[in-house]
């Protein structure tokens, strides 16, 4: 070999060149693919996810512009032909106000109100927890997140148990039974919806703000003080501007959640016909208006996607000035002095309003014959264990006695369990492919697609799923009413969280451990079995359990897809509300809250992870 080997002409001169023919290169690449199934796996995942995420949305869009069976008369067109009738009906017709414009206005008002409540509560609590020496800081930081672990409509039921008046069916609330008349504006509709959702979503803001406050380099604040700025100036000129990104993020994400949330507006809005977009959509589905359903779904999807896009856009722009302090981000707390106790009092008040009050009210309502009467003969266990309850023909037994609760619990367990299992495994596989495939197209495509369901508000996704799977399409049978439909929709909607944790777990691990096994002579399955899965055991467990806990409480996504045979705990509780069996509905919600709280607590104990970081909701 010569000292300088730059000359390109050392390759043996062959007819087809040193790179080989196109065919031989293809054979080489196929051989690589055969031994390295990552890309194949990635492509399969991409196809499956594209189908499960995009096909329902396409089905909805086509439904919205096609005359549906039964609407020929009104649309004055043949079924299946192209039409703008549904868009006209939703946006311009005489019923448009009830179908769309009022719900839209209500949604915006509620979202704004909820954001204000959540930002005030969550922001102040975040500041107390991260920047002050408030008493019981550690305990509070767990306790104040609990409202987010309760099913979101727990607050709505508790509200009714307190404030319900006699203008709607079922039992009156405690105040009314004490002789205090509660006007409709206080008992139902806008005000209670805003307060209840605000109490549910403030922990979300607390976590976002808390993380941001912790990340702000305290040296930035110190330098301002050294330059002569007072405490107030620092807060106003330095800290607040740095918090703006998390503020805008909170506002947008809460708005996105409100778009897709169902339980609370349904329970509190129905008695006074106060609808949000989500309940209007539900009404359209229930009255079998497929075309209108499709238009409303499309609108919610578009708004939801816009919200997320704006958020990521803002986040990207704000990245320019966000300073993530590694060294300076120490635990800098200001001394509250004599305000330590009052501050604890404020935090406890929030905890009481968010956890103790609703849970106690619900618990009390399930053991009282007449609400709010504290006499021994007024207490009863009949709603839990009684039989032959009068006036409850559909549910003659107490919730623990009859079979409904157990059937629903079993359904919840197997359906949500299976979905969570799929979610966790697919999430880890997504992470595996994204990390192994590196910067290739498959990897980045998969990363983006697995994130897509996050952009679609839950109830709209369910409506889209319904529209796709209600009838047989090609080789795919009609899945409506089946367990598999529920499993699929739950798995897909929770996948963004699972794949995000899968990607971060695999990124942290890196490619080397597997490559080392490969060099040592281990084939693909051996590597997966002996190296990847054992190392990622913890990540896999949380990847299954988090979707499981969140799925147990899921209502918006499943409410339209369950039938009598596939009743879940959450839908059972709403069903009981529909029949005005308030005490039993409350009992079921308490069961859900207990189960999800216990599961969360146990997981936290067992895996030593901080679940607040992965709470999807």
């Amino acid at each position: 070999m010569a000292a300088a080997t730059r000359s390109p002409d050392t390759a043996p001169p062959e007819a087809d060149g040193p790179a080989g023919t196109r065919l031989s290169r293809l054979r080489y690449r196929l051989s690589v693919l055969r031994h390295e199934p990552t890309h194949l796996l990635g492509i399969l995942l991409v196809i499956a996810l594209l189908y499960l995420v995009l096909a329902p949305l396409v089905a909805v869009l086509s439904d919205s512009a096609q005359v549906q069976h039964g609407d020929e008369g009104q649309a004055r067109q043949d079924p299946g032909s192209f039409t703008s009738y549904y868009f006209w009906r939703v946006f311009r017709s005489p019923v448009a106000r009830i179908l769309f414009w009022e719900p839209l206005l209500h949604t915006v008002v509620v979202a704004l109100g909820v954001t204000v409540v959540a930002v005030v509560l969550g922001g102040s609590m975040a500041w107390l927890l991260t920047r002050t020496n408030v008493m019981g800081r550690k305990w509070l930081s767990t306790a104040l997140v609990v409202p987010y672990m309760l099913p979101s409509w727990t607050f709505a039921l508790a509200w009714l148990a307190l404030f319900k008046n006699d203008s709607s069916g079922g039992q009156i609330g405690i105040l009314e039974s004490w002789g205090v008349h509660t006007p409709n504006w206080l008992a139902y509709g806008q005000v209670p919806i805003i307060l209840c959702l605000g109490l549910h979503y403030y922990p979300f803001v607390l976590l976002l703000f808390g993380n941001a406050l912790r990340r702000i380099d305290s040296q930035l604040e110190d330098s301002a003080r050294i330059l002569g700025a007072g405490r107030r100036t620092v807060a106003g000129r330095i800290t607040l501007p740095l918090m703006l990104p998390s503020l805008s993020s909170s506002v947008l994400l809460v708005f996105g959640r409100i778009l897709g949330t169902f339980g609370t507006p349904y329970i509190l809005g129905l008695p006074v016909d106060y609808s949000l977009l989500s309940t209007s959509l539900f009404r359209a589905v229930n009255s079998h208006q497929r075309g209108v359903t499709a238009v409303l779904t499309a609108v919610i999807v578009v708004v939801g996607v816009l919200v997320i896009l704006v958020d990521t856009r803002l986040a990207r722009e704000q990245k320019r000035f966000i300073t993530v302090g590694g060294k300076g981000a120490m635990d800098r707390v200001s001394d509250l002095g004599r305000w330590r106790r009052p501050a604890l009092g404020a935090a406890l008040a929030v905890f009481t309003a968010g956890v103790i009050l609703p849970v106690a009210t619900l618990a009390l309502s399930t053991v009282s014959k007449t609400p709010g009467v504290f006499r021994a003969d007024n207490f009863t266990l009949k709603y839990w264990v009684g039989s032959d309850l009068p006036g409850a023909p559909g549910f003659p037994h107490g919730v623990l006695r009859g079979s409904q609760l157990y059937e629903a619990a079993w359904n919840s367990l197997r359906i949500v369990g299976l979905a969570a299992l799929i979610c966790g495994v697919v999430g880890l596989l997504v992470g595996y492919v994204v990390v192994r495939a590196g910067s290739s197209r498959t990897g980045s495509l998969l990363r983006q697609i697995s994130f897509l369901p996050y952009m679609v508000p839950g109830i709209a996704f369910a409506a889209a799923f319904l529209s796709l799977f209600a009838v047989r399409r090609g080789p795919v049978p009609a899945l409506y009413g089946s367990v598999s439909l529920l499993v699929l929709v739950l798995a897909v909607t929770h996948l963004p969280y699972a794949s995000r944790s899968g990607i971060s777990a695999m990124t942290q691990l890196g490619r080397e451990p597997e490559e080392a096994a490969q060099i040592s002579g281990a084939g693909w399955f051996t590597r997966l079995r002996k190296i990847i899965i054992p190392i990622q055991r913890g990540a896999l467990t949380t990847g299954v359990i988090l979707p499981f806990i969140s799925g147990l409480k899921e209502l918006s996504i499943v409410i339209m897809l369950t039938t009598t045979g596939t009743q879940l705990l959450t839908t059972l509780s709403i069903n009981l509300v529909d029949y005005a069996y308030d005490q039993m509905a409350n009992a079921v919600v308490l069961v859900i809250a207990l189960v999800s709280f216990l599961a969360t607590y146990l997981t936290q104990r067992l895996t030593k992870t901080n679940l607040s970081s992965g709470l999807g909701g």
């Binding site: 000292a3 390759a11 043996p12 080989g20 080489y28 051989s31 451990p513 080392a516 060099i519 040592s520």
Partner: protein, 380 residues
């Protein structure tokens, strides 16, 4: 024991220029070959292609007479079937297995019997003097200890080729020195072919039998370490190997470089049209004392001292001659203050001559013969 041959190998990631392009390389059997170059030069890609972890876009890789990759024949042998050993920069030990289990893993997948497995693992651990840690988990070991385990894991399966990807870069200075000696010992004891990737020229110079200098996906020079130092094939190698780096200046800009060219061309009239760049190693430049009479064949010039930086054993001195800045190394104290004018000297035979494209110009007849002789001995 096999020779590793790469021919016409190309690898590119996405768009942009290929990481490795039209690469031809022959790594001799039993050699300790260092792939040396700045980051992004394609050295790690080359190593990973040899291991099979990175498939090629085009080209052929053979080990001995076995074809590992060939886009001509459509053959690809997966990494797990190549029987090589690879040590990663971050060691890549499996955190869920004990040290002993880590080392046994390769034997286990080769279906070696338990008794033999344990014995071979013990031998490998003993060779790396880490047998006391057999029952510990990797997280309980320091970086240097982990590196020993990862070497033991590689040696246990008795691979035909050892590949090392910057294995010492995460270690502190003392450990790095120890591990260099260790690797050299392994090479002497086992006779394995070792391919070693590094961006540290000192590492390459001290351990390798052959150095492959790479830049921008191309091999710049392959030669024994001293040859690379003494006769860099082009200006890139000249600048990259040696510390402080070689002084390189284009000729004909000013009086200093013009005189230098005239001196060189007086001895080598054959280079008249080709000489573009002259190189002088800092250690070949000398400061003349008052009254020193330089021997014949020496280029003497006047320069102004800018700074003198002590490094402990020597001084690195920066001077300007005309518009040219030059570094030289002095082993005696430099008394002259900054701004002082001094006389410097360099033997014209110590100068390195390059043409317009940066390639080394042929040495004088005697040297050329020597080069050929050298090449013949180590390529055989």
């Amino acid at each position: 024991m096999p020779t590793i041959t790469l021919s016409a190998v190309r690898k590119s990631y996405g768009s942009g220029p290929p990481a490795v392009d039209n690469l031809d390389l022959e790594i001799p059997d039993g050699s300790f070959t260092c792939l040396l170059g700045p980051s992004g030069c394609g050295k790690t890609t080359t190593l990973r292609m040899i291991s099979g972890l990175e498939p090629l876009n085009a080209g052929t890789i053979t080990v001995g007479d076995r074809i590992m990759d060939s886009t001509v024949d459509g053959v690809f042998v997966p990494p797990e079937k190549r029987g090589m050993g690879l040590v990663f920069q971050n060691y890549a030990l499996w955190p869920h297995l004990t040290v002993a289990k880590n080392v046994e893993f390769g034997l286990r997948v080769r279906k070696v019997k338990p008794a033999e497995r344990a014995e071979r693992a013990a031998v490998a651990l003993k060779m790396m003097q880490i047998e006391w840690a057999a029952d510990r988990y990797p997280a309980q070991l320091s970086g240097g200890q982990q590196q020993r385990v990862s070497l033991a894991r590689m040696l246990a399966v008795n691979p035909n080729v050892l590949l090392l990807d910057e294995p010492l870069s995460n270690l502190d200075a003392q450990l790095r020195l120890d591990m260099r000696a260790e690797l050299k010992r392994i090479h002497d004891e086992t006779g394995h072919t070792i391919v070693f990737v590094t961006h540290d020229q000192l590492e390459a110079m001290t351990m390798a039998t052959h150095v492959v200098v790479m830049n921008k996906g191309h091999v710049q020079q392959m030669a024994p370490p001293m040859e690379v130092y003494a006769r860099p094939a082009n200006t890139f190698v000249a600048r990259f190997v040696g510390s402080p780096p070689m002084n390189l200046f284009e000729v004909g800009d000013d009086a200093f470089t013009e005189t230098a060219r005239d001196q060189v061309l007086a001895a080598r009239p054959d280079l008249t049209d080709r000489l573009t760049t002259i190189g002088a190693r800092p250690e070949n430049l000398r400061l003349l004392d008052e009254g020193d009479q330089p021997p014949a064949g020496t280029y003497v010039f006047e320069a102004t001292i800018k700074t003198a930086l002590p490094t402990g054993s020597s001084w690195t001195v920066l001077v300007t001659a005309g518009d040219t800045e030059l570094y030289f190394v002095s082993y005696t104290d430099v008394h002259a203050a900054p701004g002082a004018t001094v006389r410097c000297a360099v033997r014209t035979s110590d100068l390195h001559l390059f043409d317009a494209s940066g390639d080394r110009l042929p040495d004088e007849a005697a040297d050329a013969a020597l080069t050929e002789e050298n090449t013949a001995t180590w390529a055989s």
